[in-house]
Symmetry: D2
C-alpha cells in the first residue's frame, strides 16, 4: 500500500546531533554535561526531563545503590547461565537478567509506589500530624488486606522480607537521607506510618523492606510511577554486569547447570493422568 501521504514528524526532547555538536536534553552534551554531571543525575534527567538538584541526585543514587545487587537472585543466575550458553553476545546475558524484572522479585518498588500514590490520591488533603498519618495507614492496610470485607486480601506491598526479618538496613538509611536532603514527602510518611500501625491490623510485626522504601522515595522524588520498575532495572543492570564480570573471572554457571542436571528426576508423563493439564 505505498502512498503519497506525508510522513508525520517524530518529536523528541532527548538527543539530536549535527555537524560538530550533540544536543542532549537541550544541553551541549560535550561541553555542559560530560565531565560535569554524574551518570545517576543524567538518568534522572532523561526520565523526567527535569534536571535534579544535588539533593535529589543524592537520594536517587542512594536508591540505585540499594537495589543494584542481591547476590544470587534468579535474575543473576539467569544472566550467568545465558552467558555460559552464548558468551559471544553479552547483550543477551544482560537482557536475560533484565527480563526477570517482573512482578515477583523486582516489582515491589513499583507496586509500593503505586499503592502509596493511590492511597494518597484517594485520601485528599494530607494529614497534619502523626496521628492523622497513622489513621490513614490503618485504613490503607485494612483495605488492602480485606479486613471489613472491603479489600482483596492482598499483601501490603513493601512489608516483609525473607531474610531481614528484624529490619532491612536500607530502610532507615533511605529515610535518613531523604530527611537530610529535605526530600521526605507524603509517600515516605505514609510508608513509615504503615510500618508503625500494621501490627494492629495484621496481628504481627513485619519489616518495611528496602524495595518498598525505594518506591516511596522515588515517588516522593516525583519520578513517574510507570517508570519505577525501570529505575530498578537500571540499578540492577550494574549488578548484572558485576555478575557477568565475575562469571568471566571465576565461572560457576556450568557448575549450577550440572548440579541441576545431576539432580534431575525423570517422571514419565501419565497419559490422561493427574499430572497432565
Amino acid at each position: 500500500m505505498s502512498t503519497d501521504q506525508p510522513v508525520p514528524s517524530f518529536p523528541t526532547s532527548l538527543g539530536t546531533s549535527e555537524g560538530t555538536t550533540i544536543t542532549l536534553l537541550g544541553q551541549d552534551l560535550a561541553r555542559d554535561l560530560m565531565g560535569n554531571v554524574s551518570f545517576g543525575e543524567l538518568a534522572y534527567w532523561l526520565i523526567t526531563l527535569q534536571r535534579p538538584t544535588p539533593q535529589q541526585t543524592r537520594l536517587f543514587e542512594t536508591v540505585l545503590l540499594g537495589l543494584a545487587d542481591h547476590g544470587f537472585t534468579p535474575t543473576a543466575i539467569a544472566a550467568r547461565l545465558t552467558y555460559l550458553s552464548a558468551p559471544d553476545a553479552i547483550q543477551g546475558a544482560l537482557a536475560a537478567g533484565i527480563l526477570g524484572g517482573g512482578s515477583r522479585f523486582l516489582g515491589v518498588t513499583e507496586d509500593t509506589g503505586r499503592f502509596l500514590a493511590g492511597v494518597l490520591q484517594a485520601a485528599g488533603p494530607l494529614p497534619a500530624d502523626d496521628e492523622g498519618w497513622d489513621a490513614l495507614a490503618v485504613r490503607a492496610v485494612a483495605d488492602c488486606m480485606g479486613v471489613d470485607g472491603t479489600g482483596a486480601g492482598r499483601f501490603v506491598p513493601g512489608l516483609g522480607h525473607p531474610v531481614h526479618k528484624e529490619g532491612d538496613p536500607r530502610t532507615p538509611r533511605i529515610i535518613g537521607i531523604a530527611r537530610e536532603e529535605g526530600l521526605y514527602g507524603p509517600h515516605l510518611a505514609l510508608f513509615e506510618a504503615i510500618g508503625r500501625v500494621h501490627p494492629q491490623v495484621l496481628g504481627k510485626r513485619l519489616p518495611l523492606n528496602g524495595a518498598g522504601v525505594s518506591g516511596a522515595a522515588l515517588a516522593d522524588l516525583g519520578l513517574p510511577l510507570e517508570l519505577l520498575r525501570g529505575v530498578v532495572l537500571l540499578a540492577r543492570c550494574a549488578g548484572l554486569l558485576g555478575h557477568i564480570a565475575e562469571e568471566i573471572r571465576r565461572p560457576i554457571a556450568n557448575s549450577i547447570y550440572m548440579t541441576v542436571d545431576r539432580h534431575a528426576e525423570y517422571i514419565p508423563p501419565i497419559p490422561n493422568g493427574p499430572d497432565a493439564t
Copy 2:
C-alpha cells in the same frame, strides 16, 4: 540421575546478606555505600572489584554520559515499538533495546579497545615520544587496512562518523578529562596517534569518533576488554529509559509502525526465482 554427590559451593564477591546487614563488595551496603558512593562509582567497582578513585570515577562517568543516548537509533526505536506492543512489561522493552547492542551500532567501543590493546601487546615496550607513537600507529593502521598485503582489509575501529565528519565533540572532551585527571594512558596515546597519521595510509582524513575514544579511555581505566560492550549497555540503559518515558508522555511508536505499514510494498515471491534463497 538423582545422586548423593555433594553440591559444590558457589563463590561470589559481590553481595550477600544476613539478619540485619547486607554486604556488597566487602562493604556494609547501608552504612558505607548508600549515600556515600555514586552509582557510576558502584558500577565500576562491581565490574572490576576495585574501588575507583575520584579521578577514575569522573572519567568513567564522562564516558557513560557520552554513550547514553543518540536520539532515534535502531535500539531506541526497537524499545519503543516493544513498549507499544507490551506496555505491561517494561522490562521487555528495555531488554529489546539492549539486544541491539551488537557488533554494528554499539560494538565500536569494545572493538576499539580490543584493537588498541592488541596492538600495544604485540608492540612490546611503549614508545618514548610522539614520533614513536606515530610510527606504531602507521604500522597498526596499515596492518589493519591490509596495506602491504598483510592485513585483512578491515576498517580501523573508532575512525569515521556518518554525522560528525568534521569531528566528534566527545573525543576532545574525553581526552581532555583523561589528561586533567592523570589518566591519559597508552590506549589513548595510540588512538590519538592514529588520528594524526591515518591520512598517510588511507589518503583521507576521518574523525576519531566518540565510541572509539570511549573504548580507549575505558581500556586505560583498566576495565576488562570483555566488559567494554557491557559498559556501553549500562550507559544506553539510561537512554532507553528516557525513550520509554518519552514514549509514555508523547507516544510515537504507533506512528512509526503505521508509516512502515503504509509504505509496505507487497512483492509476491517468485517460486524458484532469483529472490528465493
Copy 3:
C-alpha cells in the same frame, strides 16, 4: 552459607538422555518421535503432556498458521532493527520480536480464551440450544461493556479489527475446521454467539477477529489458559524467522531507521514545563 543440606531433586517429564538413548515425553525420541510426529504435534504434546489426536493436531496447526505472520507488525520491525544492530546474534533479534508479545498486539488470543472460560465457568451447565447460547452471550457482552452499571466498560476481547472490518477470513476457517474435526466446543459456541448478539448491546456490528477465534479454539482443545500467549509466540517465531531471512536477502531496517531519523523533530525540553513529568 555453604551447608550440608541435601539438594532436592528436580522432577521433569520432558527430556532425559543416557548412553545411546534420548527419552522425550516418555517416548524414544529417535525411534518413536523423529520422522513420525509433526513439529506442531510435538509442541502440543510438550505443552500438555498429552499426545494430540490427528484431529487435534490439525486444528492446532491451523491456529498456528493463522497467527504466524501479519506483515510489518511492531514485533517484526523490532526484530529487523535488532538484526540490523547486532547481526552476529540472531537469537537477540528473535528474542526482541518475541518481547513484543504483550497485552496489546499479541495478547488477544489469551485474553479471549480467558474471557470465554470465565463466562463458561460462572454460567454453570451449558446452554442446550442457540437461544441459550445467545442469552448467555448477551449477558457476557453486557457485563463486559458495563451495561447496567455492573461492568468495567472494557472491550469484549476478540471483537473488532482495524483492517478486516467486514470479516476476518481466519474466523470461519478455524470454526469450519473445528467442526470438521469434531472439536467444536463450548468456547467456540460462546464466541460465535457473541458474534451474533453483540450488536444488540453495542449498537453496531464488529467482526470476530482471528486472534480471538484462535483463543476460543485453543481453549476448546484443552490447552492451559496460561499458555495461550505462549502458543501465539511459537507461531510468531516462524514469522519472525521469515522476517529475519528477508532482512538478510533484501534489507530494509536501515531504511526504516533513516526514515525515522530524517523525520525526527527536536523539541527542547521546557524546564518545569507542561511536557515534563
Copy 4:
C-alpha cells in the same frame, strides 16, 4: 530534521492483508494454507520463500524434533528462573531461554553447516565415490585441527558429545530419513565421511552428534546458512514452552534458586588482589 524527502517503500514477500483477505507468501492464507499446510512446512516456506515438498517437510520436521528439548539445559533453566521472577510476562521467559542460543550450546548446528559448506565450496567438483569423500574428509579434519601447521587447532564441529559417547541416536535417524526421502546430499556425505576417517587424524573415535548432523541435513535441504541457528531456536521454542508449562504445573525454579543461594560462599574481594581484574 523534518524533511519533504519521499519515504522509500518497504518491500516484503511475506504477509499482507486487505479487506477480507490475508495473503501470505503469495497464497490466500485462510483458503490455501490454513488446514492444508503443517506448521513445519510453513516455517520452511517462510524462511526460504520456497514451498517444500512433502519429503523436504518430513526431513525438516525430523530435525526440528531432534532439537526441541534436551532436559535441563542452561537455556531451559534460565527460562524457568525468568518465569519465576516475572510470571506475568511469559514472553520474557521464552525470550530469556532463546537468548542462550549462542555459540556454545545451541550453535553447533550452524557451525557444522557452515564448516561443511566451506569445505565443499573450496573443494570444487564433488567426489565420485566413498574413497574420494574420505580423502576430502581427512583433509578437512586435518586443516581444522591444525595438523601440518596449516590449521587453527579448532575442534571439528559436530564431533563428540558429553553423554552420547557411544553414538547419538539422532544421527542415524536423520541420515536414514534423508536417504529415504531422496534428500541425502553432499553435506551429509561429507559429514558421514568425517565420521569414518577422523580417528586417523585425531587418534580416537568420537560420535557424530545430533546437532551437527542437523546442520548437515539443513544445509542439504538448502536452508540459508545464516538461518541455521534460527531453525534451532524455532525447535527450542517448543521445548521452552514445555518447560514453562511444566514450571506452572510443578514448579522447581524457586528450589533451584534456593539451592544456589544456600551453597553460596562469600569471598571478600581483596583490593588489588589476584582476583581483581
